[in-house]
Amino acid sequence: METLLTVDDLKISYKSGNYYIKALDGVSFEIKEGESLAIVGESGSGKSTLGMAIARLLPPNAIIEKGRIVMKDIDILNSKPDSIRGKLISMIPQEVGTALSPFHKISTVFEDVMASENKATNILNEASKILAFLGFKDPERILKSYPHELSGGMLQRVLLALAIIKRPYLIIADEPTSMVDAPLRINIVEILNAVRKEFNISMIIITHDIAITPHLCDNIVVMYAGKIMEYGKAKEIIDNPLNPYTKLLINSIPRIKTATRFEVIERKNTQIQFYKGCPFADRCESFMKGICDITIPRYTSLGNRKVLCHLYNDKK
């Protein structure tokens, strides 16, 4: 399979007042065509920044210090945003209720999204087709509606349709399951998988919910404090997490039988630039004094896994 997207040593900070806050600290990974990737991490881990950087949606105070994002030989960070957004890379937002302008019909949004495309295609026909594929029995009625007339689950499918209508290579879904009720989650997962198959679209799923990732994604990137802690196949990581942080994440998936530890220790330093050694040192179970708090760990490759942890640095 050909490589679709390469992110190479990406460093991003936010300017706030007179100081800078590091959000991404040297992130690298690849996505192959048709593959899908989950970015897992808690809030503040930099996962949303990563998604926004790829979709060229960073806020004005974000500064790209270093690194490249390349998709199909196009340098994403140095192209005009208009040539990328929607066409190459699109996005499914997290919040469903505020995702669409309350003053416009769904059809208007479709028309404006398609405005830059070939005028010959009948936009609303196209939209109806996609909506029908996503399981709407009466797409015309949906197009005529205002957002507040639709339910959350319906809106989510409309947003998906808007993201894929220009047939991008990649869509980024920000917490696709966080805003819906449990029974609908499975529904969303099924629809996303169907879309992936039908349109051959790669996906990046940004989520804090590691439990859903095996159903949706091939690979997982676990992020913490702007760094990738572990990278590998979804199933392998879930079955056998190597990094202590990944272990903590997986242990906090609610399960019925095994009594898990819900130990959440507050990070002492909320600002990332203050750590000296491993960013996870102050919460780590396998903390080793004299190593983890002093030196920054290196990436270790174990098969097709990549782990950032002193435990494995030493083994090598």
């Binding site: 979709a55 949606l57 945003p81 208009d82 957004r85 929607g86 066409k87 699109s90 996005m91 937002p93 919040e95 505020t98 995702a99 669409l100 302008s101 309350p102 003053f103 416009h104 949004v109 404006d112 999204v113 405005a115 830059s116 205002y146 507040h148 947003l159 808007l162 993201a163 220009k166």
Partner: protein, 340 residues
């Protein structure tokens, strides 16, 4: 998309209640608070006979609720009595002065909201830039300007020192004699056009320009300030970011989506804007010799002709409430979320 008839009827019924409320406040203020209302109504130099007449007219010997009912009846049938300073029925005076005030207020209002909308959007889009700082300072300092003082400055500079615009009056004072101009609707811009007198129409526009600019200041500042903060809030909305992520161009988002989101709350503020314009023209009319309601009130005040003042104030309050009702219905029409 039609607003439900029920909503319109509800609003109109509510307006009726507000009008009753306005009349009630006027009744309380002028008939219950003063110990001897007849002095207020009959004027400062009234003879005992005139006072007696006023007492009869106000039915001061009847119980208070009877007075109240008669008062409401008189007000609702436009039976306001006679202004003893102009010797005309007050209703007639107000009717002839009202078009002048409305013409001025509406012109100032329209100029103000158009410029304000434009400036507000510019400022929000270029947040933090020089344009934004300028608009922010202008909109805050503008609402601190005493309009009657601004009117004087305009008059001093534009009319007296530079001589670009006429000092005052709604129309060339000789127009009636030389050109046979006769007011029809009382709105001189319309009247001159109806009569086909284009040079007079230009004269009227020229005379309208300076007072209208002065009156436009408050609506302009209010609109610019509101538009700026509304547009800023809208630009932070999820849907703006989403639309960007789907590849909608920024100018389409601003032209179509941001403006549409800004307009309904702005419409809700139109009532207030118009109120500002009305009060503004009230205060500057006397400076521009603009014989509208404001000038009528100032002259009535100088002559202690209180009934004329009170009724004029009440009229403006009722106009203001009606405008607010229209604005509410318009707002419901434009914002699909409040369709009840």
């Amino acid at each position: 998309m039609p607003v439900s008839l029920r909503y319109v009827i509800k609003r109109i019924f509510y307006l009726f209640l507000v009008v009753l409320g306005v009349i009630t406040i006027v009744f309380i203020a002028t008939r219950i608070i003063p110990a001897h209302p007849e002095f207020l109504w009959a004027g400062p130099h009234a003879t005992e006979e005139q006072l007696q007449e006023a007492r009869n007219e106000l039915r001061l010997n009847d119980p208070i609720w009877v007075q109240y009912v008669y008062f409401i009846e008189n007000m609702l049938t436009f039976n306001f009595g006679i202004s003893w300073s102009s010797r005309h029925p007050i209703s007639q005076d107000i009717l002839s002065a009202l078009p002048a005030t409305l013409e001025l207020a509406i012109s100032g209002f329209i100029i103000g909201i158009l410029i304000g909308l434009f400036l507000g959007i510019r400022a929000a889009v270029k947040y933090g830039s020089i344009i934004d700082k300028f608009v922010r300072s202008l909109s805050i300092s503008g609402s601190a300007i005493p309009v009657f003082w601004l009117a004087l400055i305009f008059q001093l500079i534009l009319a007296i020192k530079l001589g670009i615009l006429p000092v005052g009056y709604r129309i060339d004072p000789n127009a009636e004699i030389l050109e046979g101009f006769q007011p029809i609707t009382g709105f001189y811009t319309i009247d001159t056009l109806i009569e086909g007198k284009f040079d007079l129409f230009l004269d009227v526009l020229k005379r309208l320009l300076m007072p209208a600019l002065v009156v436009s200041v408050y609506p302009l500042c209010l609109t610019a300030r509101m538009t700026r903060s509304l547009a800023l809030e809208t630009l932070q909305e999820d849907y703006v970011r989403n639309m960007r992520s789907w590849g909608v161009k920024d100018n389409v988002i601003i032209r179509k989506y941001v403006i549409k989101a800004v307009i309904p709350p702005l419409i809700a503020s139109l009532g207030l804007s118009f109120g500002y314009a009305l009060v503004g023209s009230f205060l500057v009319e006397v400076i521009f010799a603009w014989n509208g309601l404001g000038m009528y009130v100032v002259h009535a005040l100088a002559n202690y002709d209180f009934p004329a003042v009170i009724i004029s104030v009440m009229t403006v309050a009722i106009i203001y409430s009606s405008i607010n009702t229209v604005v509410d219905i318009l707002h419901a029409y434009l914002d699909p979320r409040i369709r009840l």
